[in-house]
């Protein structure tokens, strides 16, 4: 490779193992132009300061395009890594495909039309689906942005719901405070889990978080005052809508839906801001190359603990909202497979993308709907037994997880936004050499 002659400021252990042309080797630490979907935080550019984005141009089709980076920077571009001087990295360019418009429109229509057309029970179930976005987003923050594979986020969801139930029932706190308390408690627990993550990385962290997910159920039974023990705890308090809103069961459901939707949107907006600010850049720098991040002044301890705390508190928030909808919290609802399905949802949607998490949850619902169609196909002997497998969320997600790794390594969101010159989040592979 011609690029071997060039200095590599931060050669990584993975460099000698990936034979593909690695144009994204860290050069100068410059914040990438649009970090929303989490490209490498180290873009190769000769400029160290962030160039302000020119206003987006609108094409005739109405598709907003981001103009390429100013060419002035290109003159000074010096490429490190194996890309070599003759393979200039194409500028990051965002192309929003028509698919995204369709998807966004569908989502908007669903959010408005769903409460108007569904029964009380359906409304409740669909609100739970909306809330699930937060839990998946939590996994995404830790894994997609922070590079710390978390297979145990169901634990944080559960802890969030227990803490919120405890606050609202036993401490008699108002709902708003209780929900925040649930998120905060889960966040604190996440920070605690994040501490070992300082030393435990990559696949070993995946192992530890899987262990956490497995140990959670028996552990929760040991704290009956908090978790309700074996049978779980019923939540006595109810979130009653104000009188002008109406008192019917449907009005109550709508009230809960609107509150949950507002919380979810606010949380997503906050997350978006965190990701695009200094802590968020630190997160991605850490994911891509922690040594380089440390060299550039990222406090590794703070960044890792922050990332885990943010991601766990999102999951905890999902749990806290859950008890608003279903006044019952039990460890029974959080077997380890639930955590794995959450992880699978995040991966399916697309790691390192906020909208990927939304998409993942949507896909999950589409498949559960498809699965329900096949559930009761009888009379085909062993085949109908196989078809009923398609109604098993675990099975479908397991198969999809495998298939997507081969077909869409970046998750389904990869269909929607495609950028030139961008790679999926990298995960270094540590090998033991005897």
């Amino acid at each position: 490779m011609s690029g071997d002659d060039w200095p590599k400021p931060f050669p990584r252990p993975a460099d000698d193992e990936t034979s593909d042309s690695d144009a994204g080797a860290p050069g100068v630490f410059a914040p990438s132009s649009d970090p929303e979907t989490g490209p490498s935080a180290f873009s190769v550019a000769g400029v160290t300061s962030e160039s302000p984005d020119p206003p987006p141009a609108t094409t005739t089709t109405g598709v907003t395009l981001k103009p390429p980076d100013p060419p002035a920077a290109g003159a000074a571009v010096q490429h490190f890594g194996t890309g070599g001087p003759h393979a200039p990295r194409p500028p990051l360019r965002r192309r929003i495909s028509p698919l995204s418009w369709i998807g966004g429109a569908l989502l908007g229509i669903w959010l408005v039309a769903m409460p108007l057309t569904s029964s009380v029970t359906e409304l409740r179930q669909n609100t739970q689906i909306v809330v699930m976005v937060l839990a998946v987003l939590g996994v995404n923050i830790a894994t997609g942005y922070g590079g710390m594979i978390s297979l145990g986020h169901g634990v944080f969801v559960a802890v969030g719901s227990f803490a919120a139930a405890y606050a609202v029932d036993d401490l008699r706190l108002p709902w708003a405070v209780s929900i925040i308390a649930g998120a905060a408690f889960a966040g604190a627990l996440g920070a605690l889990v994040g501490l070992p993550a300082l030393r435990i990385k990559g696949i070993h962290l995946a192992l530890v978080t899987l262990g956490l997910a497995i140990v959670f159920q028996p552990l929760a039974k040991r704290f009956p005052a908090f978790s309700g023990g074996v049978s779980g705890r019923a939540v006595g308090a109810e979130l009653v809508p104000p009188e002008w809103f109406g008192t019917s069961r449907w009005a109550e459901g709508l009230y809960h839906y609107l509150i949950c939707l507002a919380v979810v949107i606010t949380a997503m907006w906050l997350t978006h801001n965190i990701i695009n600010s200094r802590p968020g850049r630190a997160m991605r720098a850490l994911r891509d190359n922690d040594t380089a991040a440390a060299v550039y002044g990222v406090n590794l301890v703070a960044a890792r603990v922050n990332t885990f705390a943010v991601s766990a508190s999102l999951a905890g928030l999902a749990g806290a909202l859950h008890i608003v909808l279903v006044p019952f919290a039990s460890q029974e609802s959080y077997p380890f497979s639930e955590s794995l399905v959450l992880y699978a949802t995040a991966v399916l949607g697309g790691l390192g993308s906020l909208w990927g998490s939304v998409l993942g949850v949507a896909i999950r619902e589409v498949f559960s709907w498809l699965g329900a169609l096949f559930e009761n196909v009888g009379g085909l002997g062993p085949l109908s037994q196989f078809l009923s497998l398609l109604d098993e969320e675990q099975f479908v997600f397991g198969v999809l997880l495998i298939a997507l790794t081969f077909v869409f390594p970046r998750g389904l969101i990869g269909m929607f936004t495609r950028r030139t010159g961008e790679r999926a989040p990298r995960f270094r592979r540590n090998r033991t050499r005897a």
Binding site: R12, R199, I214, V215, L389, T405, P425, R428, R431
Partner: protein
């Protein structure tokens, strides 16, 4: 019973689990050593083999029904034959998994491999629950385990099943050592484990060699699962907790050290029985917690484990 006798009895009871954890940990070590991959699906693959044995045994003993797919293979077979069949099918499945799902990802990032193994775990778990039901199934014992089948040592009972499990484990270890030391495939496997690139330069075909490793690991897992299916009850999730113990054992001993897997398995097996007995808070159900904590502490303090190679990371 006197305290010392009780302690001895608990140690004897623990040794059976130790043998199971050691063999599963050994399977994990074989795969980690050669590919740097933690096979999260190892437990489910092993459970699947145990279910295959269950099907092959259908009708062999009262209560052994074979479940959903009974009768497809001309069951019942005798116990040794059924277990041999299950191990062979397990080995074939392990090798196929490597060839179809793992080898295409040899240059992929770590995340892709975690995804694939987690995907196998989820899919297999659900598949088994669908075909054979979630409830525990009766599985005939591997070793004689009538109430009287034990040796009395200093007042404590050493059950035949424990002795049998250790005999099987030692036989497997010997076989493994012979395979790795005296066959060409074993030599190739050792070479690939040390440095796949140099091995490839020397004309060793890395892919098939790794497939050999996966086959060995799957076989070990299948034997561990069929040995323990009688005592822990055959159900789709039976290996989930066992996998945590096995991972803890492998981590404790050093993820790339077969000797470590053996020692780690014994330590984790003993702690799993002794800690709940003397710490009331832990109890039987929470006995996974000490194993998980041990794993975390080892990974923080000494990631190489007791016998593993220190990882030297170039930055």
């Amino acid at each position: 019973m006197m305290d010392e006798v009780l302690l001895l009895q608990r140690i004897f009871d623990a040794l059976f689990n130790s043998a199971i954890y050691s063999s599963l940990a050994l399977a994990l070590v074989i795969i980690f050593r050669s590919t740097g991959l933690l096979n999260f699906a190892q437990g489910e693959m092993a459970t699947f083999s145990a279910y295959i044995a269950f099907v092959l045994l259908a009708g062999a003993a009262p209560g052994v029904t074979g479940g959903g797919l009974a009768g497809w293979f001309g069951a019942p077979f005798s116990t040794p034959l059924a277990i041999a069949g299950a191990v062979i099918i397990g080995i074939a499945a392990g090798a196929t998994t490597e060839r179809v799902l793992i080898r295409p990802l040899r240059n992929a990032p770590e995340l892709a491999l975690v995804n694939v193994t987690i995907g196998i775990l989820l899919a297999l778990n659900s598949l088994m629950a669908q075909w054979w039901g979630t409830g525990p199934r009766v599985f005939p014992p591997f070793f004689p385990s009538a109430p009287g089948d034990h040796l009395g040592i200093a007042g404590a009972r050493l059950r035949f099943s424990t002795i049998g499990a250790w005999l099987v484990l030692f036989a497997l270890l010997t076989l493994l050592a012979l395979l790795l030391r005296y066959t060409r495939a074993g030599l190739a496997f050792r070479a690939v484990s040390i440095d796949p690139e140099s091995a490839a330069l020397n004309g060793i075909r890395v892919g098939p060699t790794l497939m050999y490793g996966w086959a060995l690991a799957a076989g070990l897992g299948a034997i561990a699962a069929t040995m323990s299916a009688n005592s822990v009850l055959l159900e789709p999730t039976m290996m989930v907790r066992v996998l945590v113990y096995a991972f803890a054992a492998a981590t404790l001993g050093g993820l790339d050290s077969p000797k470590g897997a053996l020692v780690g398995g014994v330590i984790i097996g003993l702690s799993q029985t002794l800690i709940p007995a003397y710490v009331p808070f832990i109890g039987f159900e929470l006995s996974v917690l000490p194993a998980l904590l041990a794993m975390v502490i080892v990974l923080i303090v000494r990631p190489a484990g007791l016998f593993g190679t220190e990882r030297i990371e170039r930055v």
